[in-house]
């Protein structure tokens, strides 16, 4: 795969704080890469470094092999969709979209043609003469998108562009953006703090924590094999269980999550010298039954709390002592056999669904 953007040891300090800390990253040509992390993790600074609004304290940024570390934003083939959209209030839809072409002194007829294409692409046809204050939030967003795409950037940067939309429109736009990206083949770098959004849209996700890339991988890799407790906890929901390693039997190992609760895990992820491991188990991977199933990794517990979450029921199950598990089950609260607080249940976890995220 061809590399579009490369970051080599990029650090950005504000005073003594490293907002971005020695980041190495290769962004492939035509991919949809998401920078995902909580607020203040440095993902926006990383995007601003790519746009050229910030210059790295050290390290290099290359676009198509050319070092742009010191290139100002107006000389980079990169365009951004801003979180606030930053639509120019004194220009019409058309004026906004053609702004970048005017700055580049493109011939008049080419400007007209490209603006027409862009408005068509983002379904703004017929609104060209409108003023920004006459548009809805979703329409403004489309203007911001068209205004950036019309410049035919090598990389399109998107800074939480969907955060101001309501849930329904947001989901529709997620899919639309994804389709648009596939259709145009432009490299998208998308910033969000919404893990679900990242899972839906991205080819690859870079999970950012404290200015560093915690994990880089596809949505399924990151969800099923989180490389750290942070990623396991941040993406989706996870039971993080500090366990003692008791014995190794070839491909499996025996660990103790709590007094009397012992499970079998894959030994391949464990280092020989490790004595303790932090395990991650997704709540939907815990199987709940009333009678004891004939499976390994099964233990008894009592439902402490039941939370109705629409499609799913969230169960908090006290297994032993301090050990409490969160499980997600398909919502059956309308049925007779619904789960209730105080019920005694059996929990079963498949060996493959237990992920070692840390060990020592």
């Amino acid at each position: 795969m061809e590399t579009m953007v490369e970051l080599r040891g990029v650090t950005k300090r504000f005073g003594t704080v490293a907002a971005v800390d020695a980041v190495d990253l290769q962004i492939r040509k035509g991919e949809f890469l998401t920078l995902l992390g909580p607020s203040g993790c440095g993902k926006t600074t990383l995007l601003r470094l790519l746009a050229g609004f910030e210059m790295p304290t050290s390290g290099q940024i290359l676009i198509e092999g050319r070092d742009v570390s010191d290139t100002p934003p107006y000389r980079r083939d990169v365009n951004q969709v801003f979180q606030s959209y930053a639509i120019f209030p004194h220009l019409t839809v058309e004026g906004n979209i053609s702004f970048g072409l005017k700055m580049r002194h493109l011939p008049r007829d080419e400007q007209v043609q490209r603006v027409a294409e862009a408005t068509e692409l983002v379904s703004l046809k017929g609104l060209e003469k409108r003023w920004p204050h006459e548009l809805s939030g979703g329409q403004r967003q489309r203007v911001a998108l068209a205004r950036a795409l019309v410049c035919r950037p090598k990389v399109l940067l998107l800074d939480e562009p969907l955060s101001a939309l309501d849930a329904k429109l947001r989901h529709a736009m997620q899919l639309e953006l994804k389709h648009l990206q596939r259709q145009l083949g432009i490299t998208f770098v998308f910033v969000t703090h919404d893990q679900e959004e990242a899972l839906i849209m991205s080819d690859r996700i870079a999970v950012i924590s404290r200015g560093r890339i915690d994990q880089l991988g596809t949505a399924t890799e990151i969800y099923h094999s989180p490389a750290s407790a942070f990623t396991a906890d941040f993406i989706g929901e996870a039971n993080l269980l500090d366990s003692a390693i008791l014995a190794r039997n070839g491909v499996t190992a025996q660990v103790r999550m709590a007094e009397g609760v012992e499970v079998t895990v894959r030994a391949s992820a464990l280092r020989p010298e490790s004595t303790r491991a932090l395990l991650s188990v997704r709540p939907e991977k815990i199987y709940i039954t009333r009678t004891k199933p004939a499976k390994d990794n099964t233990f008894k517990g009592v439902i402490e709390e039941e939370v109705f979450r629409g499609a799913m029921d969230e169960l908090r199950i006290r297994v032993a002592g301090k050990l409490e598990l969160m499980a997600m089950v398909a919502n059956e609260s309308a049925h007779e056999h619904a789960w209730h607080k105080g019920d005694t249940v059996y929990c079963a976890i498949h060996t493959d669904d237990i992920v070692v995220v840390e060990q020592k």
Partner: protein, 257 residues
Amino acid sequence: MARVNALFGGWTVLVLAFFYAPIVLLVAYSFNSSRLNIVWEGFTLKWYGMLWRDNRLIAALENSVLVALAATSLAVVVGTAGAWLIHRYRYGGIRTISTLAFIPMVVPEIIMGISLLVFFKTTGVALGYGTVIIAHTTFCFPFVMAAVQARLAGLDPSLEEAALDLGATPLKAFWYVIVPYLMPGIVSGALMAFALSMDELIVTYFTSSSASATLPLRIYGMAKVGLNPMINALSTIFIVATILLLLASESVKRLRR
């Protein structure tokens, strides 16, 4: 409740009367055919005609408009640039600079007039149009700066970045995006500056030559000799012009929405 409303209504009428009665009276007397303000003799437009034929007054009016236009233009450039630089760039001592910029707003005019006069005399600058324009710019630009700063307070910082992102150099971004955004502030600041300059007496008194005397200075000179219905007529024209300016600035604001 009705009594309270009546009370407030009555009070409002009294306050408005207090403000506007002298002006209404002045406008009425500008159409009075008697030379004396106290007696109403009948309707006339002769004072307006006399104004039109008074060459010294017309010359003073021309001076006033010239000075106000020049001082307003300079104040717009200096005030807008100043507001933007203070907003955009964090220099050391920026607070001191922005406080210093507003001092001409509060310094007593007589002190400003005298200090400017002393300054011009020491530096050997001959009093004339130039000195009046410089003096007027000095007290006008803080008003433009304040109006522009008020507008800048609500500026989305992404707006400038979006312009840079789309290929505009910092200068082009300022000209094509920031200036249009600031326009309502610039216009209202400019109108304020224009009105202040047209109005100014004391600073002008110290900094003008007889050739560059402005209208207020000429009116003052006339009033010293004795009240004259021509002054009423002149003032009426001033009031109408001011109202028209205000209406214009309001409609500009509405267009800009």
